[in-house]
């Protein structure tokens, strides 16, 4: 494993498999236990540096670190911890002085974790940067797929929605490809990046044509603001062409699953009855997020591999 986890490409197939295996072992080791805590990272300090509100991701990382007995410090740009106007570099130097062993960073600017990695000695874990990547989300998604379908290799995955602005999509395309899955991106052409042709994924504009041929459909959150910038004409038209409703869910193969990184826009990209159906893995994804992130923290902080 590399020292930092900044993007899916930091993990080769062996690394990615190791993370998933480790998460599975952690899950198994903790299953049914009253004491959900392991002493592994006692004395290590994990800083959650969140420049963007994301309670669910922050809590997931916080729980992961605490279950491994690390000391957790939450730095929130929204609160008072990161003072106004302090640069990312100054903050990095502060964290460095505090002896952070890992910095989990969420930032609205693509590449901010890469910058941070230049300035701190500890491991940097990207918890979502701008429209770039969110590698632990991809890991927990792959973990969820493997848990439900028994494998990732050869699994056909459709990623549907605002690919252009989605860090989840970027990380998933990279990681799923690394793990041997076949990815199809489905979106209106306006919500696909110009360079998407260079990605290891098929591209389709037609959700109905893709659904019968996939094992996993991963719905991306679509923000209504995109409507105002003419990425699509209206929420209603978007939902009609690219939303996953009960009728479309019926077109999926029998054991296909429906995923969503959350938070969902029920009624926009996903209908409530789909989100709440047995095919939906949305709740598992949240639980799997904790064990996957424990695995990442353990593997990054545990020390140099043998």
């Amino acid at each position: 494993m590399k020292r930092h986890l900044l993007e899916a490409a930091d993990l080769d197939r062996d690394d990615a498999t190791l993370v998933l295996d480790t998460a599975a072992q952690i899950d198994q080791a903790l299953a049914g236990r009253e004491v959900k805590k392991l002493p592994t990272l006692r004395g290590r300090t994990v800083v959650n540096l969140f420049y963007e509100d994301s309670t669910r991701t922050r809590i997931s990382f916080e729980l992961a670190a605490k279950r491994l007995s690390a000391d957790v410090i939450n730095f929130s740009a929204k609160g008072s911890s990161v003072s106004k106007g302090e640069s990312l570099k100054d903050t990095a130097l502060t964290l460095e002085a505090m002896g952070a062993d890992a910095v989990v960073v969420r930032h609205s600017s693509s590449g901010a974790p890469h910058r941070l990695a230049n300035w701190v000695r500890g491991s940097v874990v990207n918890a979502g940067d701008g429209t770039h990547e969110h590698p632990t989300q991809a890991l927990l998604d792959a973990y969820t797929i493997r848990q439900r379908l028994g494998r990732v290799e050869g699994v056909r995955v459709a990623i549907v929605g605002d690919v252009l602005h989605s860090r989840v999509a970027r990380s998933n395309v990279g990681l799923l490809h690394t793990l041997g899955a076949e990815v199809t991106l489905v979106a209106p052409p306006t919500l696909l990046p110009v360079g998407v042709g260079s990605w290891p994924a098929e591209v389709s504009y037609d959700l109905d044509a893709v659904l019968p041929k996939v094992d996993v459909v991963m719905m991306l959150r679509v923000q209504a603001e995109r409507m105002n910038a003419s990425f699509f004409p209206s929420a209603r038209e978007y939902s009609r062409r690219y939303g996953l409703d009960a009728r479309r869910m019926g077109a999926l193969p029998d054991d296909a699953i429906v995923m969503h990184p959350g938070p969902m826009n029920r009624g926009m990209e996903i209908a409530a009855e789909v989100a709440d159906s047995a095919r939906s893995t949305i709740v598992e994804q949240v639980a799997n997020g904790v064990s996957t992130r424990m695995a990442v923290l353990y593997l990054l902080l545990g020390g140099a591999p043998q």
């Binding site: 693509s110 590449g111 910058r115 940067d129 429209t131 970027r170 990046p193 110009v194 042709g197």
Partner: protein, 434 residues
């Protein structure tokens, strides 16, 4: 005034000769000149070029003296072999009045290292709404001939047409920063495979090309001169070639960084590589080199854009666009054009001195002329280059007040040994004399 005898230099790469400088002019060129009392500059193996002229320099004064001043920028220019630079108008206050351009002009005179030629803003406050007092700036002591809202595009086609027409009255030229703003909202880098991967908002080539296409048609229609700043795409070169073939009075410049670097640099997310227009693809770089070689692109313009550390040591999106260029411009041209055999030294002189001086109308000003031939009687604006020397760029060693050089750590050819501005050595032995 010191008199100099430059011994054994090769003008435009030709045979070695001695060049005698007295009273600010070249007094004689020949072999074994006797110049009693002259300070001798040994120049065996060095190439002599006319002093370089930059059409596109950001000196940041007034307003951001923490990033650069007229004096520090002038020193960087002299060290880069320049004897004249056009100081862009996007200062604070904006150079949109006779008062501001005269202030910049005077600061340049006081520094005395290069001729600082102010560029006037096209529109008041660079806002793109109404014309600045172009005539007043033209008539001022600064004698402004180049007008530009650089940093911003004159996007309104009607306003652009009026500007092109209006400056004809004093033989001015509008230098357009070609960027359709509606196509580059939030843009961070070239739009293509790499922007898709890096999750940085794309700056499409079409946003530049659309404006250039529009503006050459306007220039043709009203019979005016148009200059295109920092051409960055293969498509732009095509459009310029087409326009020139139709006889449109259009000139264009390319930056050193667009000749050398590509959008691959963005993969580090190091904002030192963030620039506007952005670094493009290998194919664009190739087209730009070809365009500069065949003259479709007239000049190299540095777009020297100093930025304070805090404006660059940040997240990519928060960083300001721009990179240093003056001190390495000639080195990059040698690396990308001379060494591969695409431009000879006469070509370098043409693209970096003669043509930019002509575009800025600096070539017919008597003793204050720039971009003139190396010949007896001409103003002694000269640069001596050692083409064989190679050095690794160390930002800390630059004369600019800023450190945002995209060439840090890169080895480049061509050492500037000496620069003469009207007979005064501004650089000797590779060091600024003041």
């Amino acid at each position: 005034m010191t008199s100099y005898l430059i011994k054994g230099a090769r003008p435009l790469g030709g045979d070695p000769v001695d060049i005698h400088i007295t009273d600010g002019r070249i007094s004689a060129i020949g072999n074994s000149l006797d110049a009693t009392g002259a300070e001798v500059v040994e120049a065996a193996g060095l190439i002599a070029l006319p002093g370089l002229v930059d059409l596109h320099t950001h000196l940041r004064e007034p307003g951001r003296e923490d990033a650069e001043t007229v004096e520090t920028g002038s020193r960087a220019a002299a060290l880069g072999g320049f004897t004249a630079v056009h100081a862009m108008a996007n200062t604070d206050p904006v150079a949109d009045t006779a008062g501001v351009v005269e202030q910049v002009w005077r600061l340049g005179q006081e520094a005395g290292l290069v001729d600082v030629v102010p560029v006037g803003a096209v529109t008041v406050g660079l806002k793109g709404e109404r014309l600045a007092e172009l005539g007043a700036m033209a008539d001022s002591a600064a004698r402004v001939r180049v007008f530009s809202d650089d940093g911003h595009c004159v996007a309104d086609p009607a306003l652009m047409r009026r500007a092109l027409e209006y400056v004809k009255a004093f033989d001015g030229v509008v230098a357009q920063h070609a960027e359709e703003p509606r196509l580059t909202v939030g843009a961070q880098m070239h739009e293509g495979d790499r922007s898709a991967k890096l999750g940085l908002t794309g700056w499409p080539a079409a946003a530049e090309e659309a404006i250039i296409a529009r503006d050459v048609l306007l220039a043709e229609h009203v019979g005016a001169r148009l200059h295109v700043c920092h051409v960055s795409t293969a498509g732009s070169v095509e459009i310029l070639r087409w326009a020139k073939s139709r006889g449109v009075q259009v000139t264009a410049e390319v930056t050193p960084h667009h000749l050398l670097l590509t959008d691959a640099c963005a993969e580090s997310y190091d904002p030192v590589f963030k620039v506007n227009p952005p670094l493009r693809t290998d194919a664009d770089v190739e087209a730009l080199r070809a365009g500069l070689a065949d003259g479709t692109i007239d000049a190299v313009g540095t777009d020297h854009a100093p930025h304070a550390v805090e404006d660059k040591e940040s997240e990519w999106a928060q960083a300001r666009p721009g990179m240093l260029g003056l001190e390495q411009a000639l080195a990059v041209v040698i690396e990308t054009m001379v060494e591969p055999g695409r431009l000879d030294w006469a070509g370098v002189a043409d693209r970096m001195s003669v043509r930019p001086a002509a575009i800025g109308r600096l070539d017919g000003l008597g003793i204050r002329s720039q971009g003139r031939p190396i010949a007896p009687g001409e103003p002694a604006n000269l640069v001596l280059v050692d083409p064989a020397a190679r050095a690794t760029v160390d930002p800390a060693a630059l004369a600019s007040r800023s450190r945002n050089s995209p060439y840090a750590g890169r080895e480049l050819p061509g050492r500037i040994v000496a620069t003469f501005l009207r007979g005064t050595a501004t650089v000797l032995d590779g060091k600024a004399t003041r």
